[in-house]
Amino acid sequence: MMRPDLDIIQHWIEPGSRVLDLGCGDGSLLKFLKSEKEVSEIGLEIAENNIRLCLEKGVNVIEQDLNKSLQNFKDKSFDTVLLTQTLQAVNYPDVIIDEMLRIGKNCIVTFPNFGNWRSRMYLFFRGRMPVSNFMPYEWYNTPNIHFCTVRDFDELCRDKNIKVITRTVVDHRHRGSWMIKLWPNLLGETAIYHISR
């Protein structure tokens, strides 16, 4: 089944456009966009097994570490650049965001909202870094080294003069209720931003 955050994303993708997915995983999203939107896709990935799964799906994949450099991608060479559930795992999130906005005409970023009430409760009552189904790692072995909250990301966008085209925040069932709209940073679990310069 399609991850519901990905279902939201697809509405922001122009049919037939050129899409770059940074950390494309097994290529599911790109395959979906390829068949639904006939996009011309490129995925970046470093996990060998994921690369294989992309090839199996017929999804274009390039073995490249997005933490190192994206300088090989020309300015505005893609219509949309995606970073889904990966922002918290990169070395320099601000640099990646800048690079995405350089390469893409518009960008889509999704990340787990660390400001969610569950994380707050966990930290408040247990005094320890939150561990959950979605974040099953201990603090010392987690690949998620840069967690942020919806408010943090809003702040980053303001500082960098990034235009937020749409911001959608959803709960763990990926529904966006009126309550979440009212208190996104408290109730939202996944933040989905559509941004541009």
């Binding site: 294989r52 992309c54 090839l55 199996e56 090989n72 020309k74 060479s77």
Partner: protein, 398 residues
């Protein structure tokens, strides 16, 4: 070959010689009026003629890419690891065509053929052929085989350069371009090694300005030297350390522990000019074997074709502009320890394809074997190659 044909081998194969009467105008301005191409095919062409794969060979390759010519042949074709039933280029799914390029010495018209105009060997008079000329002749071959579009054109090293030329000059004639251990063009270092190889051959007193066949002789020593220097560039330092660092007779225990690949041939140093180390005798053996099967003039031609290859020459030096009309999908694979055509060289092509907005996949395979890795059964390479071509088969065989 083994007593019984292995299940994943194409088995006993018979080459065919095809004759072409249409003159071929070459890049140099010269032309060849008629020529032969030696080919081998494996697998069966489907009814739609959509499952054909062309294999382009590298510097010292030929049409014999897989299987055995006879029960007595000790080694299979040069790419037997990748071509056969159940292998990456699966002969149960694809019709595979491999040829000996023009100027070669395995049956196609080349310097050791007799020039019909003069009645003597072409020798040094055989015109310099380029990658572009080869691909032109491959198009003629394609027409003769009544294939309209290749499912894929595949090649490693110099073979990959031919694939690039296909994608640039004949975009509608291939669905997939697969280039392995390739570079967009040779670097000064690459050309330098080729020049040493050429000088070794031409400096051999038996070379006779390339007319050695008329003199009934052969520049064996020169070809040996050329191959020896070439062979070093195909291996990696660590591959050589491995290969020559585990035999029974090291100088002392440290030399094995340090794995410098310094195995001795006889167990002690000669303190003379004899062959002391295993690596020396290995190179001699490789050179010797090669000189028995390969023509000196062909070697000179092949290295020139490598040196001259530059797909950007018609596009003001821009590789991405060269690919502008390409419509196929691309797969590139490089190997971490390849210092002849290192991964960065493949990346240059990938980046140009990205700039041109093309469909491209790229894998950098961790492998110790150097440039030669593309001929060897490196597990991740074989796996990715198989996976990709399975998709291609689904496309063309459905």
């Amino acid at each position: 070959m083994p007593n019984t044909v292995p299940e994943n081998s194409v088995g006993i194969v018979t080459p065919q010689c095809l004759h072409f009467d249409e003159p071929l105008l070459l890049r140099s301005g010269k032309s060849i009026n008629s020529y032969d191409l030696m080919i081998e095919t494996y697998g069966r062409l489907n009814d739609k003629k959509s499952n054909a794969i062309l294999i382009c060979h590298a510097l010292s390759g030929d049409h014999h890419a897989a299987g055995y010519h006879s029960k007595d042949e000790s080694k299979p074709g040069w790419w037997d690891h990748c071509i056969g039933p159940g292998k990456p280029i699966d002969t149960n799914k694809f019709f595979v065509v491999c040829l000996n390029n023009l100027g070669g010495c395995a049956g196609s018209t080349g310097p050791s053929s007799v020039n019909p105009d003069t009645g003597t060997f072409y020798g040094p008079d055989f015109p310099v052929v380029t990658v572009r000329d080869w691909v032109k002749s491959q198009v003629a071959l394609m027409e003769k085989l009544e294939i309209v579009q290749w499912a894929a054109v595949v090649g490693g090293s110099l073979g990959g350069m031919q694939v690039m030329r296909w994608a640039i000059s004949y975009p509608e004639k291939l669905r997939h371009a697969i280039m392995i251990a390739v570079a967009p063009k040779l670097s000064a270092q690459n050309i330098a090694f080729n020049e040493v190889a050429r000088q070794s051959i031409t400096a051999d007193p038996n070379f006779h300005n390339g007319r050695y066949l008329e003199h009934g002789t052969y520049p064996k020593k020169g070809v040996m030297l050329a191959r020896m220097v070439g062979h070093i560039t195909y291996l990696s330092d660590s591959a050589m350390r491995d290969k020559f660092g585990k035999a029974a007779e090291p100088i002392n225990s440290e030399s094995i522990a340090g794995n410098f690949g310094r195995d001795l041939r006889t167990g002690k140093l000669s303190f003379g000019l004899n062959v002391d180390f295993q690596v020396e005798s290995y190179l001699h053996y490789q050179g010797e074997r090669f000189s028995e099967r390969f023509d000196a003039n062909t070697y000179l031609l092949m290295t020139k074709a490598l040196d001259y290859f530059d797909p950007t020459v018609d596009y003001d030096g821009s590789l991405s502009a060269a690919f502008a009309n390409s419509s196929c999908r691309f797969l590139l694979m490089s190997f971490s320890s390849d210092w002849r055509f290192p991964p960065e060289r493949s990346r240059e092509i990938v980046d140009a394809l990205l700039e041109a907005g093309k469909q491209v996949s790229y894998l950098e395979i961790e492998a110790d074997q150097g440039h030669d890795a593309f001929l060897l059964p490196v597990p991740r390479y074989i796996d990715a190659f198989t996976t990709y071509l399975q998709r291609v088969s689904d496309e063309v065989n459905s």
